[in-house]
């Protein structure tokens, strides 16, 4: 699998709903189409929320992983 080049990282660790989504939306706005954004979050609700946000906005959730405490998402702007 090719390594995805991350253009920007949004660090939302320690923030609760809705800030991970809000920060992601703000960051994605500044990115060019096709660029990938990495989101780090600790809010467990973000697993569902990021998917819902991607579905509503048409952006692509490319990757999703987590270690013990941090959830990591890679989103490609449409």
């Amino acid at each position: 699998m090719p390594v995805i080049e991350i253009t920007q990282t949004v660090d939302a660790r320690g923030l609760s709903c809705p800030m991970p989504i809000v920060k992601t939306a703000q960051a994605v706005k500044t990115l060019p189409s096709g660029a990938a954004l990495e989101l780090l979050a600790t809010d467990a609700g973000s697993i569902k929320d990021v998917a819902a946000w991607c579905k509503a906005t048409g952006n692509e959730l490319v990757e999703q992983s987590s270690d013990a405490t941090v959830y990591r998402f890679v989103i490609r702007k449409k």
Binding site: P18, V22, Q26, W53
Partner: protein, 204 residues
């Protein structure tokens, strides 16, 4: 016609069948039994609806809910408007304003309930400010943004806040009493006029 069948009589099923427009139980729908994979993004995109919140309450917990929903829906690319009326209007008065209004009754009203988003009370468990103080502490501990922070985010993301002209007049509030970036004061007809097929309204 049903006398020939051996199926036991089921009054509930009969009643359901009698209801006009009730979907047929065994009618096969267009979706095949093997569920198709979800359509790739962009093909069958769900168009978000416009979102209209009528912010009637000035209670801390309800204002919080309004701000969370408004900022999130704006983040999801949904056109979001908030009509602020009655107690909700007090939330959008500048924090620095202590006494507002022109006559003694309007001034008394603002004295009894301090305006501004940072001075909200809980609808229950307020305990002379102890409840809101604890809520604030708990929110900070859990990384929850305050209503004021969420309001700033919502405004930055293009949420439109429309004050109610009638309530402004009744409380004697002037445009300069309100926070920066509020929309033009409007009336109920404007709000009802915003209710198209594509708008989801919410009264908080």
């Amino acid at each position: 016609m049903t006398t020939e069948t051996l199926a036991p009589f089921d009054p509930l099923a009969e009643a359901i069948a009698a209801v006009d427009g009730w979907p047929e139980a065994a009618e096969p729908t267009e979706t095949p039994a093997t569920a198709p994979l979800p359509a790739p993004a962009g093909e069958a995109e769900v168009k978000p609806k416009d979102f209209l919140i009528i912010d009637y309450s000035g209670d801390l917990e309800k204002v919080w809910a309004t701000m969370i929903l408004a900022s999130t829906s704006a983040a999801m690319g949904v056109k979001t408007s908030v009509f602020v009326t009655f107690w909700g209007l007090q939330v959008f008065v500048k924090d620095s304003r202590r006494i507002t209004g022109e006559n003694w009754m309007q001034k008394m009203m603002s004295a009894m309930q301090r305006p501004g988003i940072s001075h909200r009370k809980l609808s229950k468990m307020n305990f002379f400010g102890m409840g809101p103080w604890m809520m604030g502490r708990l929110a900070k501990q859990h990384g929850v943004a305050s209503p004021k922070e969420l309001l700033e985010v919502a405004q930055m993301m293009g949420v439109e806040f429309l004050p109610c002209q009638m309530t402004m007049d009744m409380f004697g509030l002037k445009p300069e009493d309100m926070i920066e970036g509020m929309g033009e004061p409007v009336g109920a007809a404007t709000v009802i006029g915003m209710l198209t097929d594509n708008t989801v309204p919410l009264f908080i």
